[in-house]
């Protein structure tokens, strides 16, 4: 068993052996440095990507270049949108960027249909991925639709801690403002209030989450 096979098996324990064989043959690993844009709105989708290691941030961009954070993809996860392009002629409606150095497994879009039909475990994975992304998007929608900025910041911090597996976030106020489509001053002031209430501790270049 190759090193690659082992890695796939441990991240995707439900994949059947024949599927893993097919992956060995047709999919390719790719290392991507942190902060690389891996997908941009309007770009054609030619392959789907499973995250093996690292972290990918998925966000929406408007015409003026504003960004809006949607969700993260961690190891074992995949982008749902790249799986719904039957023909490969559709363009992406979202943008994505690596948050860390990341390794992905790239699968040519032509294999999608074939594998869906032939490998039950792949079919289940795709359906489950759809649902998971949709649910996450609904969470994001909720926070922006129903909540004020202070609560949205808390939600944002909570999510980031979960996804990065740490309570110390290395992130600037400016970045948060950008991802929530707000302004730095607003974020700074609200973070200060959170700090006053003992929920976080503010340091230069990082935020310690105490209790949210």
């Amino acid at each position: 068993m190759t090193e690659n096979t082992k890695q796939i098996k441990s991240l995707f324990p439900d994949f059947e052996p024949a599927l893993i064989d097919a992956m060995e043959e047709h999919a390719s690993f790719r290392d991507i440095p942190a902060e690389s844009v891996v997908m941009r709105t309007g770009q054609f989708i030619r392959s789907t990507m499973l995250v093996i290691d690292g972290l990918i941030k998925v966000y929406r961009e408007d015409e003026d270049g504003n960004e809006f954070y949607m969700y993260h993809l961690g190891p074992g996860q995949a982008c749902a949108l790249s799986m719904t392009c039957l023909t490969g002629s559709q363009t992406s409606q979202i943008s994505a960027k690596t948050s860390k150095d990341t390794t992905v497994l790239q699968i040519p879009i032509e294999k999608m249909d074939e594998w869906m039909a032939n490998y039950k475990s792949w079919y289940q994975f795709v359906i489950q991925t759809y649902r998971a992304r949709f649910d996450e998007l609904l969470q994001t929608l909720d926070s922006v639709a129903f909540r004020h900025m202070d609560e949205r910041i808390e939600f944002y911090l909570k999510r980031h801690c979960e996804v990065e597996g740490t309570n110390t976030l290395n992130i600037t106020h400016q970045e948060i403002a950008q991802e929530l489509n707000s302004s730095r001053e607003v974020i700074s002031r609200l973070l200060k209030k959170l700090a006053e209430r003992g929920k976080i501790v503010l340091n230069r270049h990082n935020i310690e989450v105490i209790d949210l």
Copy 2:
């Protein structure tokens, strides 16, 4: 050929004959009066529904009972979420209500997997449905994330005109406020501004859209 078969064929021209036969056998038509709640957050999903005639409004509800409009399902469309419940044990994350008297074709959730595997046209329909709903949700997200209330109202009116196939919307300010999670006064004032700019005409109980 039965009347039902004809109707399915005309709305879903890509469905293969064998699939339509299977539908005749296992799916059932159901008439639902206007303003009925057909799905509620937290409810178990036991069937998926294709809209044959009428209109269904899909929205998100928060803990306090606030609503937030997501999109409409018209004839030939289906809810994506109800298609991703592999086991039938998952609960709905959204709510849905008929906007008009509506006829749906109900498909037992157990048939989903079987048909996905056996009928290519069903598989394609599901994938395409998934993508369409995701895209619409992204549109909704955009407007709330990037736009002010005046633009959001315009977007809301535009969408409603498209989906209802008319330029005269029978809708109260209160309803718009609810669907955009705002308040009646705010909506009234902004609508007035739109009317002053000649984009709409306000009448009691309806809004005529002139140019958006």
